[in-house]
């Protein structure tokens, strides 16, 4: 069964090719069968391969499959080869599983759209690229997938390309992530020139041998990789593209900009963890970036009017948690939060999409309200998602993953106390902004009446994801609550387990957990006070002078857009306009020179065949003359 591994990325790719070539001639039903069928089959194959892999798991920690040589030049061999271990199996399972559910959801959500075949073609291509990214055995192949998901992200953000704004959002996403991608590529070049290898496993072993901890090269390469991860995962300072990326259809936001692609950065850092361990200052930077992003994005999420933008900021904030966990060396915790986050964030986006769909593309939460009774199933699933995101204790998955991260931030020797306090503040804000959405959208008076409840194809993924958003957390229970470390044992074959500073026993952990729980619940309670329509404290707060200054500032994402516009975009445009004159003149002179040469030479083209024959004869004479001499 393991030999079927290559099918997992190949199936969505085949789906893409079929839809791209013949999609225009297919009926909607055929498009659905191809688009969803390829992903569904890939998910099935993943289940088979995963079962086979887990059967022999601890004895055989990885499986390697080479299909063919992609690049083979002197000194560099890059194969199209897949590498399956616990980490990539986790990623593949999440991508194909959630990918399939979202495809199923799109069948109904996109049913009124003209670009039906195009949508599924892009989605399939995205899955193929994402699977290439996580299964790649070497860095160039990983980079191929990395760029592939970037391309698909661009195509899908600009899916409704007739709106110039959406096109601009797509370009922004592409260009901003390009900065990170370029850094990543430079990192690859340095790794290859220094270590003469690009295989992910081999290069890290070589690096660990060649570079001492904290050496300059290790730090430089790790910084460059971090820049790539930061760009893809929308962390500070390259986070500005993600809120605008919500221009795409909601399933796209759910799949690409919440559940899978934006976590590629997390995957990259976890995949290259041995390299990052060689560069402790960079690891610390990862934690700080994560912390800053999670706080800034949480504040922005608190004040958004657009439901999808609010969710986008919450995504950034949650990925901030993952970065924080990576930074303090809690690799498995970061991946666990990735798993739970994928479930509940996909759920939240799909539920939000179902609200938007019912309200005929209304996204402003101030025009929503009272949907609790009209859309009961959507309400309950959204509630589960929000509860999981805010970490409602004991029953939601988000509690277990976030608690693990916070405990690591408290107990890891790589962490600092202030990081923990920042993360604790984050849990409060998370509860606040999650339940703000609930109270604004589902409570109060009805502002826009829904035009109809979502159908089966949309509800099934919601229910399935809601189920997982609750139960996935039970894969890893902390010492204080049942002590069931299934997930960390599973990943311990790939990622090192976290050390704790001495003296961190169960009673300390219990106290820390109580603090986290209280903070999350306090956030939810505060949300009830502030945003429940009856209380309506928030509007009064927004009316104060502080509120009036902070509100637009936070809504615009802390002014990063304006800063980049002023610091980079405008000066650059100015420069191009000014220097255009000079550069144009250079090219013009080139044109003039070419034209005069052309006139000169074309005079020899008389059109008389005898003239040509004579010139050939003279040429022969000259050559013979040279030979005779």
């Amino acid at each position: 069964m393991l030999r079927l591994l290559w099918l997992i990325p190949a199936l969505p790719l085949a789906g893409f090719l079929v839809l791209a070539l013949f999609g225009g001639r297919f009926s909607r039903r055929q498009i659905v069968w191809v688009g969803c069928g390829s992903v569904g089959t890939a998910a099935l194959v993943t289940a088979l391969v995963g079962a086979d892999f887990l059967r022999g798991f601890p004895d055989r920690p990885s499986y390697h499959q080479t299909l063919w040589n992609w690049i083979d030049t002197s000194g560099m061999t890059v194969g199209v080869s897949w590498y399956l271990d616990a980490l990539s199996l986790l990623m593949v399972a999440v991508i194909t599983g959630i990918g399939f559910l979202i495809h199923l959801y799109s069948v109904e959500y996109m049913s009124g759209d003209d670009g039906y075949a195009r949508f599924f073609a892009y989605m399939n291509l995205f899955l193929a690229a994402m699977l290439t990214l996580v299964l790649a055995d070497n860095l160039p192949l990983l980079y191929l997938g990395w760029e592939g998901v970037g391309l698909c992200s661009y195509l899908l953000i600009g899916f409704w390309y007739r709106e110039p704004e959406y096109g601009a959002a797509a370009q922004k996403a592409f260009i901003v992530t390009r900065i990170g991608d370029t850094a990543f590529a430079v990192g690859l070049f340095i790794l290859f020139t220094q270590l003469k290898s690009l295989s992910i496993q081999q290069v890290q072993t070589l690096a660990a041998d060649a570079w001492p901890v904290g050496s300059n090269l290790a730090v430089i390469v790790a910084v460059l990789f971090l820049a790539g991860a930061v760009g893809k995962s929308a962390q500070l300072p390259l986070q500005v593209w993600l809120p605008d990326a919500m221009a795409g259809p909601t399933p796209v936001s759910a799949l690409i900009h919440a559940a899978t692609m934006v976590t590629a950065g997390v995957y990259l850092i976890a995949r290259m963890h041995r390299l990052f361990e060689l560069a402790p200052p960079v690891l610390e930077a990862v934690a700080v970036i994560g912390l800053l992003t999670l706080l800034l994005a949480a504040c922005s999420a608190l004040v958004q009017r657009d439901i999808k933008r609010a969710l986008a900021y919450s995504t950034m904030s949650q990925i901030g948690y993952m970065f924080l966990a990576l930074g303090v060396g809690a690799w498995s915790a970061a991946l666990f939060h990735f798993l739970t986050h994928s479930c509940f964030k996909a759920l939240l986006f799909l539920a939000a999409g179902s609200v938007i769909h019912s309200l005929r593309h209304e996204q402003d939460i101030f025009r929503m309200g009272g949907l609790r009774r009209q859309l009961p199933l959507t309400f309950w699933t959204f509630l589960i998602g929000a509860a999981a995101m805010s970490g409602v204790p004991f029953i939601t998955s988000g509690f277990y993953s976030k608690d693990w991260i916070l405990w690591s931030a408290w107990s890891s020797p790589l962490s600092h106390r202030w990081i923990w306090f920042g993360a604790l503040l984050g849990t409060l804000l998370t509860g606040l902004y999650s339940f703000r959405l609930i109270f604004r959208v589902f409570f109060g008076e009805v502002r826009t009446p829904p035009s109809g409840a979502p159908g089966v194809a949309m509800l099934v993924p919601l229910v399935v994801l809601a189920f997982f958003a609750v139960t996935v957390g039970f894969l890893e229970l902390p010492r204080t609550l049942g002590d069931l470390p299934l997930f960390s044992q599973y990943l311990s074959h790939v990622l090192p387990t976290i050390e704790t500073i001495p003296g961190m026993d169960e009673s300390v952990e219990a106290h820390e957990q109580i603090a986290v729980t209280c903070s999350a619940l306090l956030g939810i309670g505060l949300a009830a006070v502030l945003f429940l329509p009856r209380a309506n404290v928030a509007d009064r707060l927004a009316g104060t002078s502080l509120g009036r200054t902070l509100l637009p500032f936070w809504q615009g994402g802390w002014g990063f857009d304006r800063m980049y516009d002023g610091l980079i975009v405008r000066p650059w445009l100015h420069l191009t306009r000014e220097s255009g004159e000079i550069i144009d003149r250079c090219y013009e002179s080139l044109v003039v020179a070419a034209e005069s040469f052309h006139g000169w030479l074309s005079r020899t083209q008389t059109g008389h065949v005898r003239w040509y024959a004579a010139t050939v004869a003279v040429g022969a004479l000259v050559l013979l003359g040279l030979f005779a001499m």
Binding site: L601, T604, Q605, T606, G607, H608, V609, R610, A614, A617
Partner: protein, 99 residues
């Protein structure tokens, strides 16, 4: 000495062909001159083959023969076409490719 003299004959024939090619304006005569030059070249090859006792000279002659056959068939087609369209065989009249 015979082969050396054959080479001299070949270059003389070639020169006569070249003179014909350059001085005649009628495109048909130009083609005839080309044939003469091709013949001169094959004579040179044959003489070379005879001088060294190698078959390669005659093989080159065969190739030149093939080339001449193909060239003549196409060139005569072009001559016919030109005479239909321009009503003349004056090579200087066909200067539409002037740069």
């Amino acid at each position: 000495m015979l082969t050396t003299h054959a080479l001299v004959l070949a270059i003389m024939l070639f020169c006569i062909g070249l003179v014909g090619l350059l001085s005649r304006r009628n495109i048909l005569y130009m083609l005839l001159s080309l044939e003469i030059m091709l013949n001169a070249a094959s004579l040179a090859f044959i003489a070379g083959g005879a001088r060294w006792g190698q078959a390669d000279g005659e093989i080159m002659f065969l190739f030149i023969l093939t080339l001449a056959a193909a060239e003549v068939s196409v060139a005569l087609g072009i001559v016919l076409q030109l005479s239909y369209r321009f009503k003349t065989l004056d090579a200087d009249a066909f200067s539409e490719m002037k740069g």
